[in-house]
Subunit: 364 residues, 2 copies
């Protein structure tokens, strides 16, 4: 593992949830960013005992006022100099607006120095056709995304923002066009597209695939689309979106920095129109991110198999389970499975720094 960080000195403001146990939100994003050499200011939007996928948790949300206060606290002590910002889960529309105000201020401050601030926004709202935030969070994000440099919605969130139902390649392209033109968003990565996007992407019984679809707009707002297919693990993980987002922050910074020239001092790091979709920094970054993701998930799957086998979750319950009702048994099984599915990162750091790139960007 190389000791040299992949990015130059990079100060990142990370705004997301904190869980005491497990690896979602800022709990994983901050560690990923720090391990890659970023100096991270971590503004936690909640403190919960564990992620909500367990179906039970304790803890408290931070109010919009508290978010604004913490930001004021940073400003009054000259601690508000950031190269990048990453925002993830924020509880409620008022808090989303409070976070948006921070990003807008940082954006405004950087106006005279193009490219000196870059906001990566993960508009966490829902998945698989269902919102898991209050309804008014959707318009709150619609009012904000125009200030972001890169957004990372999943397929459902891209639909919510663009108001285009994604059912095939054409509607996918249309959704991305809306995000580029109506909302003026420079870079978009849709993190989980489950449409079949090509003949080569056949579903074999051994490996179901999904795609990441990305685009950096041209100077006239046209999409430059690419897709990357990757195999899906038949496992429900939490925190993958947060890890993906943190890695995108690092890899965009790295690729743009290594490109040299004027790109890093261009507003939103927008490549000239001569750059083809497969040559975009966004495509290079996404390939590296997916490579790390695949390695961490594959290590997680291995550990998970061991842990569930040890706990006897497959064949029944651990000792003591016999006295539980079947409903209690199912609950306990779900909790132990959730724990076993927590991302295994701390002992697999080499997956972050120097992953093998297996999945390449393709034309759409």
């Amino acid at each position: 593992m190389s000791a040299e960080p992949p990015v130059p000195e990079t100060s990142v403001l990370a705004v997301a949830s904190h869980v005491v146990s497990g690896h979602v939100g800022n709990k994983i994003a901050v560690f990923v960013l720090q391990s890659m050499g970023c100096d991270v200011s971590a503004l936690n939007t909640v403190q919960f005992s564990n992620h909500t996928g367990y179906r039970q948790w304790k803890g408290t949300r931070v109010s919009a006022q508290e978010i604004t206060d913490l930001w004021e606290g940073l400003k009054q002590s000259y601690l508000d100099q950031f190269d990048m910002m990453l925002s993830g889960y924020v509880p409620g529309a008022a808090a989303v607006e409070a976070v948006g105000n921070i990003a807008k201020e940082l954006k405004e401050k950087s106006r005279t120095k193009p490219g000196s601030f870059f906001w990566v926004l993960d508009p966490v709202m829902g998945d698989n056709g269902k919102l898991y935030v209050a309804d008014d969070v959707v318009p709150a994000y619609r009012g904000l995304v125009q200030h972001a440099d890169l957004i990372l919605p999943n397929q459902f969130e891209a639909e919510q923002l663009s108001e285009v139902k994604i059912t095939d390649s054409a509607s996918l392209r249309q959704a991305i066009e809306v995000l580029h033109t109506k909302f003026n968003i420079p870079h978009i990565v849709i993190t989980s597209v489950s449409l079949p996007l090509s003949d080569s992407q056949t579903t074999s019984p051994n490996s179901r695939t999904m795609s990441v679809v990305g685009s950096t707009k041209t100077s006239t707002g046209k999409p430059r689309l690419f897709k990357i297919h990757f195999p899906v693990f038949e496992c429900y993980f939490s925190g993958t979106g947060d890890m993906f987002a943190a890695l995108m922050v690092v890899r965009m910074r790295e690729v743009v920095h290594n490109a040299g020239g004027a790109l890093s001092s261009t507003t939103s790091w927008l490549s000239g129109d001569e750059v083809a979709p497969l040559d975009l920094p966004l495509a290079r970054a996404a390939e590296k991110v997916l490579a790390s993701m695949h390695e961490v998930l594959s290590r997680t799957c291995e550990s998970m198999a061991t842990e569930t086998a040890q706990a006897g979750i497959v064949n029944g319950l651990p000792a003591g389970g016999a006295t539980l009702s079947s409903e209690e048994e199912e609950k306990k099984r779900h909790l132990l499975r959730s724990r076993a599915a927590e991302l295994r990162l701390v002992r697999n750091l080499s997956c972050l720094r120097s992953p093998n790139i297996e999945y390449r960007a393709e034309k759409m």
Copy 2:
């Protein structure tokens, strides 16, 4: 940098403060523990914009009730299995008791499996002759330390706990004896002793030294004392105690694990009476910890010099300072100096994993 973590799989509950910006409390402890391969559950006792050494900050404290709730949240989802616990700054006596109750429960649960749980307690109360917590926090800690396996007070905190004023080697030994016998604490490291403890420790104009003094009690409660001298950087850092504590967690686990034999399944990892002071796992661990500390602090000093020179803090204020009153100037200078003194760890990870051991334990 070796990719292999120094410790076997280790689950740690870390309870301390969180700051958005900078590196104190859990903000540095969690990263140190994770970088060394520990799976960390991080219970944050406050969320402040920055550490209090800046003399101004915003944010909120977590109540004793919230601490207890988060713990209940962990327990109800089977997330309460820990090999070690590290507790640092906790706001107020009620919250200290809430944290103590968690440790006591974990201790009780491990009673049938000696050595399976180890609590490292940093009794954060004050420094340099002054309390920076409410008066009732002192008796709260006095009521708790008997349950800790290792405590890490500074000289002032050791005085508060033992009620022995430390003025020379004899009173230092006496304070440690009280902690071993009256409070039954197995391992003690006093993290900053500024007494001259030997002739060899002369104060040269180039390098002032301080000492860490440690002891593991024998079966009859006798101290086994060692000291390690280290050079002092003429700089005021924050977060060094928190980093020291996190590293002690890792190194104690490592040294005891590598020792093999029955030590790791002995209550409180207490070495047999035949083990001499300089052969104690505690002495080995402290040497490694000080080596990492010295490297990180020395990198921090270098960066600090560059940053303060760039900001023009030495010769005056950065541009714009001319319009400030002298009081405002002094305040701004203090804030910029505090920022420049934040520990530089994320880009210096090799200091953690494989430091050069320069300062060795000596007899007292």
